[in-house]
Every structure is written in C-alpha cells, then in structure tokens.
C-alpha cells in the first residue's frame, strides 16, 4: 500500500462514518409519534360504536362524586328540613355550613355540583355536535343517541337552574370565548324544554334488556312534566303526566320498602334511575351509598345525611314509610345482617335507610345502589298536584290515594284523603310528597318550587335569609374566572 493511502486510511473510515451520519435523517422519524392506545378527536367519532361510547360517557358522569354524591346530597337533603349533616361534627364541615345556611360563595358544595353538572353538559355537547358527522351509522341509532344526550343535558340544566337560577347556557363543547354571562332562568328552561321535546320524539318507550337504564321517551315526558310543574304550568304538567300514566307502562311497586332493595331496581315503578353495580373488578359503583352508610359498627360508610328530628316527626301516625326511611341505632339492618351500634363520636345517630345496600364486592366506595331519579310515585304526585291546581280534585285524589294505598301496605293506617278543598288538598299532596320521597333528594327543590323554603326553614335554621337562600351562590371562583361575566345571586355579594 502506498504511503499516501496509509495516511488516507483514517479518512476513508471517516467518510464511511460520515455517510452513516448523512443517512441518519431517517432518524427524524423519532419525532413522528402518536398517542398509543387512545384516540384523538381527529380520528374519533368515526363508527357507531364510538358514537355509543361517547353517549355512555355522559351517563358515566351521573355516577360521579360531583354529580350525585356528596355535595348533591348536601344541596338537596341536608340543606332541607329532612336531614342534618350527620357523621362526626368536624367531618365535611362545608356541609355543616350548607345545613346551617352559613355557607359563602366559596363553599365547596356549590362549586362541586357546578363542575360536575357542567362536565356532563360538556360531554353531551360533544355528542350533539359530533353525531351528525359520524359516517355510516344507523340513522335511527343516530336519532336515539341524540335523544339520550339531549335528555341528559336537560336533566343537568334542570338541577342547575333549580339550584342557581339562570346559568351560562353552553350548547357546544368548544366555545371560542370563555367569558360567558348567565342566561336567564327562562332561557335555561326554554332550552330544557326544547331538549326534552327532542328526547321525547327521539327516544324509544323501552329498551331491550341489555340497554335498560338508558333514557326512554317516558322518562323524558315525566321529566318535562316535572319541569312544567316547577314552572307552575299546571296544564302542561297534568297533560304530560297523564299521558305517561295512561300509557300503562308504569305501576307502583307492591311494597314501599322493596323499591330500595336490589330487586326494586329498574322495577315497574322506575322511570329513570342512574345505573350502578358493584363488580368484583370495580368500575361500576358509586359512593352514593357509602357517604350515607352506617358509620361505626357495622362500618358501612360515612354516616352523612342524618334524618332530622323534624322528618321523623312529620310522618303520619303509623306510616310504615318512617321506619323504611330511617335506620336507627339498635335497629337490625334491612338485610338482617347486623345491628346498628352506637358511636360516641356521633351525635343523634341515624341513617338514611333508602341508601342502604347489602354486602357487595369492592368495598364501601363501590356502591351498587341505583340512584333513583324519577319514579312513578313521584309522577303520580306531580299529576295530583297539577290536577288539584286545575280544580280537578277528584282525579287528583285518585292519584294521591294510589300512593297512600301502596304505602299503607294493608295496615290500618294512612286513610284515603277525601278533601276536595283545593288548599287542603294541596297541603295533603305536599305532605305526601315529603313522606313518600324523603331522603331521595327532592325535598329542597319542592320547598323552593312551592315557595315554602322561608316558612319551613326559618324556624329550624335562624340563619336562613329570605330572598337569598332560596338560591345557592354562584361559585366565587367561577365569577372570578369568567372575568366578571357572571353575576352573583342576590344577597351573596
């Protein structure tokens, strides 16, 4: 080898390596990546299955802590005369503030449900916006899914408008401007009615066994009846509820206490309930049962939502619903599995028996109990109340007494109501609603709807302020983050 080649040899080697480097741009592939095992919005909403999944995600939010558990119970039952906070004095103190009407706009409860319901609304909006673009989907399924999302969106807004009055009305998932003022309560209700009308025409009256739990046209009609009742639109409430009653699709469950057992789930009386199940592997439960479960021995939960003295005293003599609603210390558990023992850390111990569930896999936090949103007894009383206001007392009495007859369960108690005086009958219906629906998260809305919150709460809770506490405050952080677009409710500034 000539000397020149010898000195050049390293250079050759270098050239080989240099070529290697030059070939390296292929390596820029390392930058081309996509998320693994998940879709992006760009490649989702392409199939029927995906469309269904997106609607399932809206239902999913119904089981969440924010939507139907801790703060929800606080702002429906604990705030009302039906129950006190429960648990130990220091636990969940913000709910004590709810109970005592000492809460401020910074209280955790209003901001929790606010976030929970708007998350549901976002998911529904995502469905409603993207469904039309899904290629190759059965048109009837597309219609149904849109109906389900519309029903759920209406339900979310219905609770929001009842708690807060007018709220920001978001109907699309990605608004360009985040500073959104409150719509009026009337505008929110108009949207609720429109969504429920969409649902009524889009949804089937029932589903095959595998899809039980999805919203039906009957649920949408019943919900719309309740909206009408809330709005004082008696004719509409009566028409819609009678339409549901006359459809013959629903009937009262034979026993009152049976409604709240596992067998009572999705029964003939069920119009809409949030589906939950305690699988061995988890994922299908809710904490609804846990937060209201017996605290101490046996250890079934946290002991919130304690039935109040006022509630216990409100039942008519011998009404079996009292013992079916309230679980006392010393009482045998509904499934006979144990006896409630006293806990010295808890004052005036009592529990919500309607939220009791039997032993189940996955721990207390994996509660299997369906959350009953709307049942036939509620609808009958809606009908009765609307009909009474329309001076159709005979019809009203019929539906009221159907509820009482089931409640008495053959015992010689709860005689039929016979008065046809509109005022007396109104009182009787209201009282019936309380006894029938106690601790099912309706009481506060009933008190406000019927303008009785002041007269009922003031004697029990001196901090109650008229023309203020009927509505909850808009969460302070929301007002701040809206850059002032949101206005606070009266009395909270």
């Amino acid at each position: 080898m000539p000397p020149i080649m010898q000195t050049m040899q390293p250079l050759y080697k270098f050239l080989v390596l240099a070529l290697l480097v030059a070939g390296a741009p292929a390596c820029t592939d390392v930058l081309d990546r996509t998320p693994q095992g998940e879709y992006t919005l760009d490649n989702f909403f392409q199939t029927e299955e995906q469309a269904v999944q997106s609607v399932n995600a809206v239902y999913n939010q119904l089981r969440s802590w924010e939507t139907h558990v801790f703060s929800f119970i606080g702002m429906t039952d604990i705030v009302s005369d039906d129950s006190d906070k429960g648990s130990t004095p220091s636990d969940g103190f913000f709910l004590q503030e709810i109970d005592q009407f000492t809460y401020a706009p910074t209280n955790v409860a209003p901001s929790t449900v606010w976030a929970g319901y708007y998350t549901g609304i976002f998911r529904a909006n995502l469905v409603i916006e993207n469904l039309p673009e899904v290629p190759a989907i059965d048109e009837s399924l597309r219609t149904r899914l849109n109906g389900e999302a519309s029903f759920l969106r209406a339900y979310f807004y219905f609770n929001l408008v009842r708690w807060f009055g007018g709220v920001p009305l978001l109907l699309e998932p990605f608004p360009t401007n985040f500073e959104i003022a409150r719509a009026s309560a009337g505008e929110v209700y108009a949207q609720i009615e429109s969504d429920l009308q969409t649902a009524i025409s889009a949804l089937p009256a029932s589903y095959a066994a595998a899809d039980i739990g999805r919203a039906t046209s009957g649920a949408a009609k019943s919900m719309l009846a309740k909206v009408a009742l809330t709005r004082g639109n008696w004719q509409r409430a009566a028409d819609l509820s009678l339409e549901v009653i006359n459809s013959g699709r629903y009937e009262l469950y034979p026993t009152f206490s049976g409604i709240f057992t596992q067998e009572g789930e999705n029964s003939s009386e069920s119009i809409f309930e949030v589906q939950a199940a305690a699988f061995e592997i988890g994922g299908g439960g809710s904490q609804y049962n846990e937060v209201q479960g017996v605290r101490g021995v046996p250890n079934l939960g946290w002991g919130f939502n304690r039935p109040s003295d006022d509630l216990a005293a409100s039942f008519e003599a011998g009404d079996p619903r009292r013992d079916a609603t309230i679980l006392y210390v010393g009482e045998v558990l509904p499934d006979g599995s144990g006896i409630v023992e006293g806990d010295p850390n808890i004052d005036g111990e009592r529990f919500n028996q309607k939220a009791f569930v039997t032993d189940h896999p996955g721990g207390n936090g994996n509660g299997p109990g369906n959350i009953r949103i709307l049942r036939y007894a509620d609808l009958l009383l809606i009908a009765a109340e609307a009909l009474n206001e329309l001076n159709r007392q005979e019809e009203a009495l019929m539906y009221l007494n159907m509820v009482r007859a089931r409640a008495r369960g053959g015992a010689n108690v709860l005689p039929d109501v016979t008065t046809t005086d509109q005022g007396e009958l109104r009182q009787a219906i209201w009282r019936e609603r309380r006894s029938e629906l106690a601790l099912e998260q309706h009481r506060w809305f009933d008190l406000v709807r019927t303008n009785r919150s002041f007269e009922v709460m003031k004697p029990l809770r001196p901090n109650f302020t008229q023309n203020k506490n009927e509505l909850f405050p808009i969460p302070q952080t929301e007002i701040d983050l809206s850059e002032g677009a949101l206005e606070q409710n009266p009395g909270y500034n």
Binding site: P10, K13, F14, A24, C27, T28, D29, V30, L31, D32, T34, P35, Q36, G37, E38, Y39, T40, L41, F44, Q53, V55, N56, A57, V58, Y59, N60, T88, S90, D91, F94, T102, A104, W114, T119, G120, F122, N125, L126, P168, L170, F174, F178, I180, A210, I212, G213, R214, E280, I281, G282, G284, V297, N299, N345, D347, P361, T477, L481, S482, L486
Partner: protein, 994 residues
C-alpha cells in the same frame, strides 16, 4: 541516577556569592521530601533546587524579603522570610486545583479555561455516607446544588435541585452518565463513580438545549489506569430513626379526650385517666434497629493501549420501619481499547438488579402518630388488637404483618463508542447508548380481620410488569488546535434519542393459597380478573444539532459560544424545534503581565455568561385533544359495564418547552499560593413559558389545556471556599459552600392571582398558594394571634366566619372588616424553599489516622406540620397540647382540646414551623496501616474506619426531618406525617487494595 543528577544540578546552581543571610530548609509534599524544587529569590535571579532529601540552602541578597518555591505539578508558593533562617515548606499538589480537568457537556476542559459555572465532586468525597444513592452522598458538597433526602426509605433516591426551582413542574436536572442521557440515576453505585460535574449556568448547560434549564449533572465512572489492582471495600452497620415525635402518653391522652368530650357537650368517656399509665408508644412499635451492609470488589488496570474496570457490588439495607427493606446487586464493566493509532473503541456497561420489600409506610407512620396510646398492638392472646374503637385508626403493626409487596428492578445502562482521529486535530465520535429498565411488582393481601375498618375478607393479588427503553445515538466531531498563543477547540454534532415504555398489570381475588408460591394471577379466581396495559415511562423522541466553540488567547481571555437546536415530539406542530444559545467569557487576570506574582492573591479569574435553555418535561402529547376511555356506564337488567369515551381536557396546539434565560457572573480567587480557594457566582435565572393549566371556568366543562404562560424568577449567590494546609505528617483541608436563592413566581397567566395546591389532608383544604410575587408553593393561611380568653374577647376580635367560641384560635382580621374569612384574611406564612443551604466539610490526617466530617444545613424554610391538623377521630395529640387553653389565662397559643373542628381544619401559623437545621451529616474516623504492615500482607493499602451518619441535628422542627419533599412544587414542605424518616447510621468498614 536521577537523584545524582539533581544533586549535581543543585551544586551547579548554588551561587557562592557574598551574602547577608543564608536560609535553609526542607520542601515536602506533606509526607515525602520533594526533590528538585526550584527555590528563587524573586527579582534577583538568585535561586537553587532542593536535593534528594528535599533540602535547600540559599543565600539571600540584601533587601530581599521573600522566597518563592515552584515545582511541576504543585502549586507555587511564595513566603515572607521574616528574619527566619530556616524555612520548611509543604507544597500542595496543583493538579487538584488549576490543572484539574473538568468534565463538561460533550468534552473536557481545564478548570482554568472554563467560562461556565461548574461544580466538581471527586470520587473520594462520594463514599463518605453509607448509601446506595449517589444523590444522598452529594448533599452539602457543591454550592448551588440542593440535595433533599426526600425519604429515608431503604433504597430511596435523593432529590436534586440546581439553583432554585425554575419551573412549576418537574424541576429535576438532566443526568448524563458516561455520555448516556438519562432522567434518573438510581442504578448507579456511588463506589463506581470517578467524578460528578454539576453544570449550573447557561454557558455550561446550553449544549443540552431543551433539557438544560434545571441544570445538568454529568457523571463519569471509574476507568482503569496503571498497574492492575484489586480493591475490596466492605462495611456493615446499624440504623435507627433520628428522633421520635413527642406525643401524649395514655394518661395524658385520656385526659385531653375527656376534655374534648366536655367541650363538645358530651360525657367524658374515660373514668379515670390515671389508670392507663404510659400506655403504648406506637413509634416504638413500628420502628426498629435495622442493619445495613455493603461489599464491593473491583478489578482495575490499564495502560497506553487499553484500560478496564470490572466491579461487582452488593448492598443490603433493612428499613427502620419494620417490614421495609432493599437490596441491590450491581456490576460494571468499563473497557477502552486503542485498536489502531487512529481508532479507539470503548464500552461501559452497568447491570443491576434490586429488590424492595414495601409496606405502606405512609399510612403506617400516620397511624403510629395518631393511634390512641391506650390501645396495645396485640391482645393477651397475641392477636392484633382493634385500635379503631377509640381513636378511629388502624393497627399499624397489623398493616405491616398483612402486607406482602415486593418490587424488583432490572436495569442495564451502557454505551459504546468509537473515536476516529484524523488530520491530527479532528476526532469523530459515534456513540450509542441504551438504558433498559424492567420493573416488576406484586402485591398480595391475605384474608384477615383486625377490626371492622381494618379487614380483608377476600384475598387479592395484583401483579404489574413494565419496561422502558431509551436509546441515544450521538455523532460528534471534535477539533482542537493551538496557533501560537491562540487556542481553539470546538465540537459539533447530531444526536437522536428515543424513549418508549409499556406496562401490563392485572389483579385477581380469592387465591387458592396464601403462601408466596401462590402469588401469581393464575392462583386467583378468573372471574375477578382485571387487567391493564398501556404506555408508561414516556413516549418521546428528540433530534438535536449541537455545537460549541472555545477560543482562548494566551490563557488570559476566554470565550465560549455554544448552542443546540432541539426538535422534540413533545412540542406542538407550531413549535417543533427550539434554539438554545449561550456565550461565556472569562478573564484570567492573574495570568496578565501586570499581575504581581508575589502578592497574596495567587489566582484571580472573572467569568460571565448568558444563555437560554429549556425544560422539555411538558407531557408527551398535551398538544393533541385526546379521547379518554375509562368513563363507562352500567346498563342492563343484568348489569354490565359498557365502555365510554370522551374528551376530558382541552388541548393546546401551541405547546412548547419552558424557556430559561440565565445570566451568571463569577469570580475565582486563589490566595496564599492557592492554599485558600474561593469561588463566588451571582446569577439570575428567569424562566418564561412555564407550563400552567391556566384555570378556565368550570362551566366550560373540561380541564384546561396547559399553556406556556407562567414566569418564575430565581436569583442567587453560590459561594464556596476551601483551605488546605499541613506540616509534616499532619495535613488537613476544610471546605465550605453556601447557596442563597430567592425564588419568585412572577406571573401565572397574567390574570390568575392564586394557584392553590398542597393538600393538607384535612377536608380537602389546601396549604399553598403560588401567588405572583411570592415563592412558588408559599404556605398560605391565617395568622394565629392568640386564643379567645373570654366572652368579652369574642366581641373584641373578629371571628372566623363570624362564629367562634372561647378557647378557639384568634385569627388576624387582615382587611379589618370585622370577620375572618378565607377570601380576605389569609397571608403567606412561609415557604419550603430555603433562603440558604450550607455545606461544610473537612478532613484531617495525622500519620495513618484520618478524620473527616460533613455538616449540612438549611435556613429560612418552613414546614407545615399538617399531621397535627388531620383529626378524623380521637387521634393522639402532640405534647404541646398539654399547654392548651383550659380557661382564662391558661394559654394564648394552643386552643382548647377538641377532637377536630375549626381550630384544626384551617391552616394557621400555629401549624407552621421553622424548618432550619444544621446537621452533622457524616463523621468518619479511619486508620490507614503503615506500609510496613501492608507490604507484609502483600497489600498496596489497608484502611479501616468507623462512620456515623446523621449523628446530630440541631433543628426546631418537631417532626422527624424538616426536609419535606412531596414531589410537587405546590406540595413541598407539607408534613402529613407520611414521610419515611431518615436514619442515624453507624457503620464500620474496611478498604483493601492489592
């Protein structure tokens, strides 16, 4: 032969001139005489060299008052004669100071030529502390580097923070081990490490571009050199918890609970508190004396053509909390071979395997702290007692007993490179590195019943496996050339890195047996099976172009320009590539002609640098709107969980790196022939584009997108000084470093005024607020100004939310509106970020005896003692509750006894404690046997030692350790009682070299 020559030269150079004074003496390196040292009378031309005994004799002309000594490889020294006729001198080795070679990014440099701020720790300083973690051994060693032990759990890693916290997100530095770029170094055995370089300023870190903003730690492992040697190092010792928390004994507890009952309007529950005596100290129940062992065997050697280092290490540490333990086996194979004149190839490979036995130490610690002292761990029959009856806690001993959780990590980290030298001044290197991690964990819960709240009625098992691999391919071209007094060197390169990982896990219930041989999924009921599989540990790629140019003029003026372009898969399409430049300047003033060589200042250098770096730890795909699954719904008469999918977070297509601009001014001073070295750096680090999920109203219904909106400022001062001296066989050195940092959130998103964080573990309460203008993660709560003594004071002072009782804490009504509330009256109560961290280290040797010590400290940080606040039951109290309010005039600090309630549930200054401390981190006393003995034993050296770690700590904090790290800047400094305490460790060891 050599010595003869020196003697001859010495004779030759000794001037037989007429003289007024003759000075003589001996020059040594501390132990041995130095032969041929040049001894001069400055400015006269008069001089000599030392003879073979290190002695000199010199005639000093009239008017001269000093002598200078210089010797290759040693620091020159100049001393005043001061009328003496005999002057003995010890010269210090210069190689440790000025000719020190510093490993920097993609190269090495003489310390003198550096323009950047780089701290260096050498091997001998890294093995003082008995630990498997390199990080733990670095505490207090480098100014500007804060090491937070984090946890005392066996095998725990330390947390590194370089120059404050320049982000609201992940503030970990980047690690580079033998050229391999990594995010964690838990695999490293400290005894394999040759040196650690801490790159602090932008001139040093900009070559790491989008990953340099939090600083860079470069680690070089030991390479063999010289004659082959075998070293054996071993130590064994015992550990115990550094201190215990003072909680109430059973009598005191019963007294206070009775009082709380009465305060709540209940009947007191304990008839006669005295009957319970001392009761149980639950800390004694969970803690133990725990052994620690380590053994290392290394073979090293090398020469012109090759070098090798083969080492093996076994480390075993039991935990001071029963049931926890760790052991690790590591090997290292480092090989270099000069295959041809122009080609060198090398490979470094570390293989390791470790096992951790885990117990839920967080809940065990919290439970031991809370558990009522009346209960006992076991009843008379030896069964675990129900501790929940009174105090509503579990039985921590039962938790330990029934936990079977073991994790194992297998890890291989290595690289191989080829260096091709050509055209004399060029070297091309292609380097391929890989980091492969395989993690396994299995957890088995047997059937047990301790109490209704502590039971497991169906056995269950979970098993998970994950792997992560990270490869790096770097191609760099180096150039270096001296043109007379101009020196130029540079590097340019292209690199690729790719990281991906995946996990798979499953669970089952109702196993067919409880023996470890059944700890497999298949032993469980198949109908209860769950499984999960997805990516983990990062899915990202990086393409980078880097370069650096150094120019030095006459060893006086230095300039470094460097930069890197990083393209990352994590950056949104709109910002896929970022550019990170820097420039550094240096001036070796003491090399100037005008510099007076004779002065006390033997060295003076000024440095200045500016540069821009990034932080790419921003999540892998946060720029794409992703569809989240796992939001299924239940349907059906026979309920079935059907899958659901939705969008849960908004995305930000403009997502990019966080960007830090750093300016640094440094001065390096050597005094008294560099016996005293001093270095100071003042810096300003401004980070913009910090990722922040700028909050949006909840009515939008989805989580906000992260956006590059926040700004964080760190400015500070790093100081370090060292002094080395000695005479004869006594030598010593002491060093100290101190770091001052001011941390401030400049803005969050321009609008947001509050960023709350730091769960206190009390009813969802948060303890920190990172408001603009305050330190990130500042503690935020009420100022406790007293205790309501009587009804009159209830009217006099504002009440929390307008309703408090006598005996409650009085909070300051900051805005004076007559009511104390969360919206208006909370203030900054402190921060977990110390104003100053301190390290002092020293070593002394006399004959064979060696004593070394490290002191570490921090000042100006606070701790939220949040564990005092959580009271979900009748938990035990800390001792200070003995001084509670029991009636007017009793206490104006500690409120009345209650089980829980408003005095506990609101963060106030009552729960904020001073976190300053000074700790004697390490003391080692060793003895190196004389050569007479080692020669007989055919050893090169033999050393035995005893070591004490964390022996003494001076702290005000009442918890175990005020260095509270919870993993997030918003969460640090909050002691929820769940952090594994550090241990006091005593070990004895032996080092042998053959």
């Amino acid at each position: 032969m050599k010595t003869l020559l020196f003697s001859f030269l010495a004779l030759l150079l000794t001037a037989p001139a007429a003289a007024q004074v003759t000075v003589d003496g001996t020059v040594t390196d501390g132990t041995d005489p130095l032969i041929g040292v040049s001894v001069q009378v400055p400015g006269t031309g008069s001089g000599t060299i030392t003879d073979l005994d290190g002695r000199y004799e010199l005639t000093v002309p009239a008017g001269s008052d000093s002598l200078s000594f210089s010797y290759i490889g040693f620091s020159p020294q100049r001393v005043a004669i001061g009328g003496r006729t005999t002057i003995d001198i010890v010269l210090g080795e210069a190689s440790e100071v000025l000719q020190e070679v510093v490993v920097i990014g993609y190269g090495i440099q003489q310390k003198d030529d550096l323009t950047g701020a780089v701290g260096v720790v050498e091997a001998e300083q890294l093995t003082d502390i008995p630990t498997q973690s390199l990080g733990q051994s670095l505490q207090g060693k480098v100014s500007g580097l804060q090491i937070i032990p984090g946890s005392g759990a066996p095998g725990a890693d330390a947390i590194f923070r370089i120059r404050g916290i320049g982000t609201l997100n992940n503030a970990d530095p980047l690690f580079v081990v033998d050229g391999m770029i990594l995010n964690d170094i838990s695999f490293l055995n400290p005894q394999d490490v040759e040196s650690v370089s801490v790159l602090k300023d932008a001139s040093a870190t900009a070559i790491y571009g989008a990953r340099g903003a939090n600083g860079v730690i470069i680690i070089t492992t030991k390479q063999g050199d010289g004659e082959g040697q075998i070293t054996v190092n071993a130590y064994a010792g015992t550990q115990e918890v550094v201190r215990q928390i003072d909680v109430l004994n059973a009598t005191q507890y019963a007294t206070l609970i009775n009082e709380a009952d009465v305060n709540a309007g209940r009947q007191p529950r304990f008839a006669n508190p005295e009957q319970y005596g001392e009761g149980t100290n639950w800390q004694d129940v969970i803690f133990q004396q725990a052994p620690i062992y380590n053994a290392q065997l290394s073979f090293l050697g090398g020469g012109e053509q090759s070098s090798f280092n083969l080492s093996a290490n076994y480390y075993k540490q039991e935990g001071i909390i029963k049931g926890s333990g760790y052991d690790r086996f590591t090997t290292r194979i480092n090989n270099t071979r000069r295959v041809k004149d122009w080609l060198t190839v090398a490979g470094n490979l570390s293989l390791g395997y470790n096992t951790s036995d885990n117990v839920p130490t967080g809940s065990i610690l919290a439970t031991a702290y809370r558990a009522d002292p009346i209960s006992v761990p076991r009843d008379s029959a030896g069964n675990f007692s129900n501790v929940s009856a009174i105090g509503n806690t579990g039985n921590p001993l039962a938790t330990i007993e029934y936990t079977n959780n073991r994790s194992q990590t297998y890890r291989a980290v290595g690289n191989a490179y080829a260096d091709v030298r050509f055209l004399q001044d060029f070297t091309f290197r292609t380097n391929f590195g890989i980091d492969f991690v395989y993690d396994r964990n299995r957890n088995f819960s047997p059937v047990f019943v301790v109490s209704p709240s502590q039971q497991n009625l169906i056995s269950d098992i979970s098993v998970s496996n994950s792997y992560r691999r990270n490869w790096l391919w770097e191609n760099t071209l180096n150039y270096a050339h001296d043109f007379g007094i101009h020196h130029v060197d540079g590097v340019a390169g292209v690199t690729y890195q790719d990281n991906f990982g995946e996990f798979i896990s499953g669970t089952r219930q109702d196993l067919i047996g409880e023996d470890p041989s059944f700890y497999y999924l298949n032993s469980g009921d198949v109908t209860t099976a769950t499984n999960s599989n997805g990516t983990s540990g990062g899915n990202w790629g990086l393409v980078s172009y880097l370069g650096r140019l150094n120019y030095t003029f006459d060893s006086r003026y230095l300039i470094t320009v460097s930069g890197r372009v990083d393209g990352s898969s994590r950056f949104g399409d709109n910002y896929r590539y970022g550019f990170f430049p820097s420039v550094g300047l240096g001036w070796n003033i003491s090399n100037e002609d005008f510099w007076n060589d004779g002065g006390p200042v033997s060295r003076l250098k000024l440095r200045a640098s500016w540069g821009r770096t990034g932080n790419d730890r921003i999540g892998d795909f946060d720029y794409i709107p992703r569809v989240a699954s796992g939001v299924g719904a239940v349907f059906g008469g026979e309920p079935v969980l059907l899958p659901g999918a939705t969008v849960s977070s908004l995305a930000n297509p403009d997502l990019r790196w966080e960007e830090t601009e750093q300016t640094d001014l440094g001065v390096e001073v050597g005094l008294f022939n560099n016996q005293l070295l001093f270095e100071a750096d003042v810096y300003r680090k401004f980070t913009s584009g910090v990722l922040f999920p700028a909050p949006i109203p909840d009515y939008i219904g989805a989580d906000p997108a992260v956006r590059n909106v926040a700004e964080v400022l760190n400015r500070g001062l790093d100081l370090s000084a060292s002094w080395r001296a000695g005479t004869g066989t006594f030598r010593y050195s002491v060093g100290a470093n101190a770091s001052f940092v001011h941390n401030e959130v400049v803005t969050l998103d321009g609008n947001t005024q509050n960023r709350f964080g730091g769960a206190l573990g009390v009813g969802g309460q948060l303890g920190t607020n990172s408001q603009p203008g305050t330190a990130a993660g500042s503690f935020f709560g009420y100022e406790a100004i007293g205790v309501f003594q009587n009804e009159e004071q209830l009217g006099q002072f504002a009440q929390l939310n307008g309703r408090q009782q006598v005996g409650d804490i009085i909070y300051r009504d900051v805005n004076g509106d007559g009511v104390v509330n969360a919206a208006n009256d909370r203030v900054v109560l402190g921060s977990a970020i110390p104003d100053m961290t301190l390290g002092i280290n020293g070593s002394f040797s006399y004959s064979g005896l060696e004593l070394s010590f490290d002191v570490t400290g921090q000042f100006g940080n606070e701790v939220i003692n949040a564990k005092q606040m959580a009271r979900f039951g009748a938990y035990n109290y800390e001792q200070r509750w003995l001084d509670r309010f029991t009636g007017e005039g009793s206490s104006n600090v500690i409120p009345r006894a209650t089980i829980g309630g408003p005095n506990f549930e609101n963060l106030s200054s009552l729960y904020v404690e001073d976190g300053s401390y000074v700790r004697l981190r390490n003391v080692t006393l060793g003895y190196r046997f004389a050569t007479a003995l080692t020669d007989r034993l055919r050893m090169q050296s033999l050393r035995v030692y005893v070591n004490g770690t964390n022996l003494v700590t001076s702290q005000k904090y009442t918890g175990y350790n005020p260095e509270i790290y919870n993993g997030s800047v918003f969460d640090n400094g909050i002691d929820r009682g769940d952090i594994y305490p550090i241990a006091r460790t005593i070990t004895a060891g032996i080092d042998v070299t053959f």
